[in-house]
Symmetry: C2
Subunit: 338 residues, 2 copies
């Protein structure tokens, strides 16, 4: 069966063109059908500049757009015909298997909760993303869905992260770290100190204790759990430092002629280095905890980033992450609706 992926082509910082280009490329490499959701005239003109031969493309009109400046929860209610809402409804109506959006991430989350609803037993969804590390990749969550979570929310983030790592990365018992300001069990703010014993008490979670910011880049554990505020700051700090380093490396190399020549020889090495750091290679961030496969992308996503986000969407659907999260919660005796 061909997988059908709805892509919200509006809401990207650089207009629909790059989103359409990435969506079509992603569908081609996956052998998927892509449903392009947005203002019809803009999609048609975007498609003119894109080679979509051999790719099953359906244009799904959406007359409204939610911008980055809209209030997320209000916007999804006031703009039912926005591309985000229309794309999410395609999943609810069984016309699409997954959805990708580079738009207002708060609105994607609010819309997903409204249109798809949350998985029973999960109080709050979480945005998760693999980030590049010394040892490969680490799953970091939450990245901003819940900025003031309760302790139970973080435990559920750990549960969902575990399902993701088991299903997508084939890690039977992924290690889980709790992001803190020190490794000792006594470290942490009030939230972390409440979450620590809850995670430690869970036989079904491979809890490795507290981890520090440096571990996010080292890959010390497979999954790093944190509140959405801290996770967002950590991710953006990591991106900022990576960009900063590439910039000063370039500055240093441009200082003298011999350095410039050596820099030319090393160009492939630098390209490989940047690829290992490039968040576009990692792909979009799954929104875990809602009934459906929803992938959130950077507003400034390149075509390549959208292409890999479609792969993430496809994996999320094929491995039935939402279904598995739901089944585990149904089988867990202590799971209670909040």
């Amino acid at each position: 069966m061909t997988i059908r992926i709805a892509v919200d082509v509006m809401g990207g910082d650089n207009g629909p063109g790059v989103i359409i280009e990435g969506a079509v490329a992603g569908a081609r490499s996956l052998g998927a059908k892509v449903l392009l959701v947005g203002v019809e005239s803009e999609i048609q003109s975007g498609l003119k500049g894109t080679d979509s031969s051999g790719v099953e493309v359906e244009v799904v009109p959406a007359t409204d757009v939610i911008t980055m400046h809209d209030h997320p929860a209000q916007a999804v209610r006031r703009k039912p015909q926005s591309s985000i809402n229309v794309a999410l409804r395609l999943i609810a109506e069984g016309r699409a298997d997954a959805m990708v959006s580079p738009g207002n991430s708060g609105a994607v989350m609010a819309g997903a909760l409204m249109v798809l609803s949350r998985i029973k037993g999960i109080e709050r969804p979480a945005i998760a993303s693999y980030i590049p590390t010394v040892r490969g990749k680490t799953l970091l969550l939450d990245l901003g869905a819940v900025v003031d979570p309760k302790p139970s929310h973080l435990v559920q983030f750990a549960e969902m992260g575990q399902v993701y790592a088991q299903r997508i990365l084939n890690l039977p018992q992924p290690t889980i770290g709790l992001l803190s300001n020190g490794e000792e069990p006594t470290k942490g703010n009030a939230l972390v100190q409440q979450v620590y014993p809850l995670l430690q008490a869970r036989d079904d979670l491979n809890f490795a204790g507290n981890v520090e910011g440096k571990d996010v880049a080292m890959g010390t554990v497979d999954i790093v759990v944190t509140d959405g505020f801290t996770g967002n700051v950590a991710l953006k700090t990591a991106e900022g430092v990576a960009n900063f380093l590439v910039e000063i490396l370039r500055e240093e190399i441009m200082k003298t002629l011999p350095r410039k020549l050596a820099g030319l020889i090393l160009r492939p090495a630098f390209r490989d280095m940047r690829r290992r750091l490039d968040y576009a290679e990692i792909g979009g961030a799954p929104l875990l905890g809602v009934n459906g496969s929803v992938i959130i992308c950077h507003g400034r996503s390149s075509a390549r980033a959208i292409e890999t986000a479609l792969t993430a969407a496809s994996r999320s659907f094929e491995h039935d992450l939402a279904g598995e999260i739901g089944r585990r919660n149904a089988n867990r005796p202590q799971a209670a609706e909040a």
Copy 2:
């Protein structure tokens, strides 16, 4: 007058040797007197391996040591003869002008509050540090002194950061950003949303609004204010990513012979790059809000890191940061003791 700097030589991860070496080197370049505080026999054997010619060195015995595993507040009470306590008392007794410690930072803070007491009008001290950015340096605080601050604490962190930037960096009106999960005023966790209007209402603070994790590396503002939990995570994430990048750059360069040769030519460029990233070049972190010049260093500080920490200690004392913070609070009508 010769400045007198007390250095806690115990508590560093690599033993007293490197701390003594850095302390003597720092005192030499500053023309300062250094008071080495710790177990006397260890200091004497450390001094044997160090060229201390031309440097005024006093050995101040301390019979006890606070380790990284000790509970900070309990340890400073139960170990009055620890090197941290003894070094702090040298300031209180007028025998030293400033103090540097690579030991348990929580214990240094608890000890400083006990021995030196906090500045009137400052409810909680903050650990601040300059971090390298694209545009130079940004002062980030708090780095872990207060993991669950109240809104008023963050406003005081902004005030203290302003004094630091004005006095040390000669920035008449340093810009202040509030670390958040987005730039919009509506973004942030509950704490940030409470602090935002308080900072905005202050005519004497050059508040630039919310900043994101990436701004910590970009240098968008002169001062980034945050709670000690988030600040600690952001700083350690930045350090971790910087180390990660240097590591993968090395890996990529070692892959082929032409790359290795080009890498040799670029060795000075890489060295300059690392210097711009190296936290040892930035020096120790001042503990702001206590009556005295106290500099906290990494446990794994190199001799070079300790040397620059002595410079930070000297600056903190010469620019009378503690006195200036106290005077501004005394002159501020709305300042109230908590």
